[in-house]
């Protein structure tokens, strides 16, 4: 019932729109519809070598379909790559809607309808078998995202999204046209690309178009505005799920349509094609700059937005390097990022829901007030900082290994230092929001929000112990592209350079924690209130004169050193581009004088050029 799923989404979105006045019922309907991709995911699981019990697959979904729609045909087929990204989107989506059921208040029907359409588009994109289908669903997704961005009522966000969205669409369209022109087919499977500069330009355009969606620098400008001015459940899905579609497209076109030998025609650097190397360098730069910018933010949403950009830079590095190890790492990083960033955005939403504040410097001390939100966020932050007690580390490890395997001397340190930078902003979130002086007397977040967050935390914990399970589902993707899968067992990943045994780490950590616990429980302790704090002997009645929470301008020395270089850098660059475009179009306007004589001269010149070209050729 593949086509029926699409109909269900369309009907579902109409129904929730009609149920605008009953947000609860609308939420239930939307969640019910949103579970369909999940069933599809389960039914298609054998494709990636997973055998799930048959009672889980309640509904049957075709693996391949061609559906006549008017003059054209919609061609859909599930591939391992599509399955992997569907796994990210289909698991996040219902939970995000669950969170939204208590978060979104006004015009809820519109919200759910747009969300369902977004998912419809993504579902189609992931299943598309040819470029036309891909483009149609891509545009459905993009425009329904615009509908959701419009709900934020922020001019900057809307304008930047529109501008970069159209740029992305334009680049994709041009790229598709070039590919069609050179190969004569729309089907991904039948395209045989010749290594000509034109095809390379086409592929570059397509990759650039996807880079906009993946918020790769310098095409990221829309992301911080959109992320920081839209509703949190949507942003969680946008950052967690939808931004991955850009990277899905990149992998599809760089390794499915084009191949490594195709890129290698133009030379390689340490076994990596120059094209991929450039992408990896851009990715590394994005990871570093995104991290530095995230460190400087005070708005929680902006911080998370820049952190998203930075973390997705790693995915781009992996795709750029393009060895089996790197691709596995990129996919793993995409998976981790989906879950931890969704949790973090949802936790930020929960904090906002209770306190009504976004600024980190105005929050504080919520760890004791909202312990479950805090713990979920803590896990996500550990994953974000890739501490080896969550699955976050395995992905980064694979990427580092891949970079070292290729002998990348200059990209790897940037990746590593961006990883260290992640500790800085991770701690800024922890301290500014959850630790420090308690400033808000609030309750724990509602149950629906907690459930959504904690289910999203689950994969981080599971794949910590069994990173091999992720490698199991990425192996078919690599095999499809003719690559050797990474050697692994459920908990040991082995590369040419070293091995990583998660069980050893976890057991050793449990052991040492146990030792520490013995040491620690040896003596009883007394819990004192927050007021009993050493401030050079200042008695608590004078605390009103002292700011106990040091979260505003937290990394001020850092900003003193780096602020000038990074702040506003990208936007200023685009402003220059804009000024250039304006200058050029002003120049172009001068040609259109409105005089018949001038136009006849132009036509004459045109013919002269044509004749000259014909003569010389």
């Amino acid at each position: 019932m593949l086509m029926e799923t699409f109909y269900a989404f369309i009907i579902g979105s109409l129904v929730v729109l009609a149920l605008n006045r009953f947000p609860r019922i609308a939420a239930v309907v939307a969640i019910a519809v949103s579970l369909l991709p999940l069933f599809a995911l389960i039914y298609w699981a054998p494709l990636v070598g997973l055998t799930l019990p048959s009672y889980l697959s309640l509904l049957r979904f075709e693996t391949e379909i061609s559906y006549a729609l008017g003059p054209g045909t919609i061609l859909l087929q599930i591939t391992p790559l599509g399955w992997f990204f569907l796994f990210l989107l289909a698991t996040t989506f219902p939970l995000v809607l669950l969170f939204a059921s208590s978060f979104v208040r006004d015009n809820a029907g519109g919200f759910y309808a747009s969300m369902l359409l977004t998912m419809l588009g993504s579902f189609g994109v992931l299943l598309a078998r040819d470029m036309l289908t891909f483009f149609i669903f891509w545009e459905i997704m993009s425009w329904s995202i615009l509908a959701l961005v419009l709900r934020g009522h922020d001019r900057r966000a809307i304008v930047s999204y529109l501008a970069f969205g159209s740029l992305s669409a334009m680049l994709l369209l041009f790229g598709f046209m070039i590919l069609y022109y050179k190969t004569g087919t729309f089907l991904f499977g039948e395209m045989a690309l010749e290594a000509t500069p034109l095809t390379l330009a086409g592929i570059s355009m397509i990759v650039a178009g996807f880079a906009v969606k993946g918020a790769l620098m310098p095409l990221h400008v829309w992301a911080p505005h959109v992320y920081s001015r839209s509703e949190e459940p949507f942003v969680a899905f946008l950052s967690g799920g939808l931004s991955k579609l850009g990277y899905f497209g990149m992998i599809l076109f760089m390794y499915g349509v084009a191949t490594v030998p195709f890129f290698a025609t133009w030379g390689t650097f340490r076994g990596v094609p120059y094209f991929g190397y450039a992408l990896a360098v851009i990715g590394a730069f994005t990871a570093f700059a995104g991290t530095v910018l995230a460190i400087m933010q005070d708005d929680l949403r902006k911080l998370l937005a820049y952190s998203s950009i930075g973390q997705l830079g790693y995915v781009a590095i992996g795709i750029g390097i393009g060895t089996p190890l790197a691709l596995t790492g990129a996919l793993f990083q995409a998976l981790n990022h989906t879950f931890f960033k969704a949790v973090l955005f949802l936790a930020a939403g929960a904090v906002y829901y209770r306190t009504g504040r976004w600024k980190i410097s105005e929050l504080g001390g919520l760890g004791y007030k909202m312990p479950f939100t805090f713990l979920a966020a803590l896990f996500a932050i550990f994953a974000l900082a890739s501490i080896p007690i969550t699955s976050g580390f395995a992905a980064k490890w694979l990427l580092y290994e891949a970079a070292i395997e290729q002998g990348f001397l200059f990209v790897t340190p940037i990746m590593l230092i961006a990883g260290v930078g992640a500790f800085l902003y991770a701690y800024k979130i922890l301290y500014g929001v959850f630790l420090g002086e308690p400033r808000h007397d609030v309750r724990e977040a509602p149950l629906s929000q907690l459930v959504a967050m904690w289910i999203l935390v689950l994969p981080l914990v599971v794949f910590l112990v069994f990173p091999g399970w992720v490698l199991d589902i990425t192996s078919p993707i690599l095999q499809e592209y003719g690559m050797q899968p990474v050697a692994h067992t459920p908990y040991v990943i082995t590369t040419n350079l070293a091995a990583y045994n998660t069980i050893a780490v976890i057991l050793a950590l449990i052991g040492t924690l146990f030792l520490a616990l013995i040491l620690y429980k040896w003596k009883p302790q007394k819990v004192v209130p927050h007021e009993d704090n050493y401030l050079a002997g200042e008695p608590p009645e004078n605390y009103e004169y002292i700011s106990m929470h040091a979260a505003s301008n937290y990394y001020e020395p850092f900003e003193d050193v780096f602020g000038g270089i990074f702040r506003k850098g990208a936007e200023r660059g685009w402003e220059i581009v804009l000024a250039g475009a304006e200058f050029l179009s002003n120049g172009a306007r001068r040609i259109y004088t409105g005089l018949t004589e001038d136009y006849s001269i132009y036509i004459l010149l045109f013919f002269l050029v044509l004749v000259g070209w014909w003569l010389l050729w």
């Binding site: 001397l409 340190p413 003596k523 020395p557």
Partner: protein
């Protein structure tokens, strides 16, 4: 099977205990050396043991809640974990199960755990101290990872155990010209890692009342002292493993248990020496400001590391 597991567990806990014992010794050693440089008598060399014992013998122990307690737990557990993943005197207990990247990230567990607890105390001094510590970490990690990456590419491995093995028979990385410079760069980074002067910015007792530790006392402080002392052992061992062949001088196959003993003694002498170098700098320097530290590491140290990278890059492709 069961006996093997028990054996392994005993070995590992013995290793952790050894690490703590050496760490506590280093505390007294450091104070004694500093005192002698200051022309003082200084405390007895076993002072570290007394201090830790006293802290755990305190009658009241004040906590600020369960997040505060995580600091003590995670700092001790995390640093012990990092120690287990290091090859010590050629003995690699768990070091084949992970690699250098894992160790670099394992070192973040105690740091972040500690930061978590310090932040939970709600003291502004602690927050400022943590800010400085994290920024210092960002500062010294850049030259450190640059040199480490250069070594990884040069030796074509990321595993520290393999690296130590490749340096056996005195083929120390220190004797390779480019990594001699690398060792100097990393030694400077080590000064920041150990938080000795001029990089004791995060603690700075005279400015921000010992920074992150401001609210810790009694057993909590005892746990943190254990962490700091063990961190000395871990960080110096990392240096010794990277550049000085991990202290392996005799091969175990040839000499049997004597080799273990000798290697162990050599390892101990080497880490003491590395720490001693840091102490010499510590004893005579005042303190940097945090911007100065950041600029020092990112300008001079990282620039030197960049030259090293270029050298290695040229060397590899020839």
């Amino acid at each position: 099977m069961v006996i093997e597991i028990i054996e392994k567990i005993l070995l590992l806990s013995g290793m952790v205990a050894l690490g703590f014992i050496i760490g506590m010794f280093f505390n007294g050693f450091a104070r004694k050396v500093t005192a002698r440089i200051h022309n003082r008598v200084g405390p007895p060399i076993y002072q570290g043991y007394l201090d830790v014992f006293k802290l755990f013998a305190k009658k009241t122990n004040i906590s600020h809640g369960w997040i505060f307690d995580l600091a003590a737990l995670f700092s001790v557990a995390g640093i012990a974990l990092a120690f287990l993943f290091l090859p010590v005197a050629g003995i690699s207990l768990l070091s084949t199960e992970g690699d250098l990247f894992l160790i670099l990230y394992l070192l973040a567990i105690p740091a972040l755990g500690f930061a978590l607890g310090a932040g939970a105390s709600g003291n502004p001094n602690a927050a400022v101290g943590i800010m400085r510590a994290l920024m210092l970490m960002l500062a010294y990690e850049l030259p450190l990872v640059m040199v480490i990456v250069a070594m990884m590419v040069h030796y074509n491995t990321t595993s520290l155990a393999t690296l130590v093995q490749m340096q056996s028979n005195f083929k120390w990385a220190l004797f390779v010209p480019q990594f001699f410079i690398g060792a100097i760069i990393v030694d400077m980074a080590l000064q920041g890692m150990l938080m000795e002067k001029p990089f004791d910015i995060a603690i700075a007792p005279h400015e921000i009342a010992s920074g992150p530790m401001v609210e810790f006392g009694g057993k909590h402080l005892g746990a943190l002292m254990l962490y700091k002392m063990m961190a000395i052992v871990v960080e110096t061992t990392l240096f010794v493993d990277l550049f000085l062949g991990g202290g392996v001088v005799l091969s175990v196959e040839q000499y049997g248990w004597i080799a273990y003993l000798v290697n162990f003694l050599v390892w101990f002498a080497l880490i003491t020496f590395v720490f001693f170098l840091a102490l010499l700098i510590n004893a005579v320097f005042p303190r940097f400001r945090i911007e100065q530290a950041l600029k020092f590491y990112w300008k001079y140290d990282a620039l030197a590391a960049l030259l090293l990278l270029i050298w290695v890059y040229a060397g590899v492709s020839i």
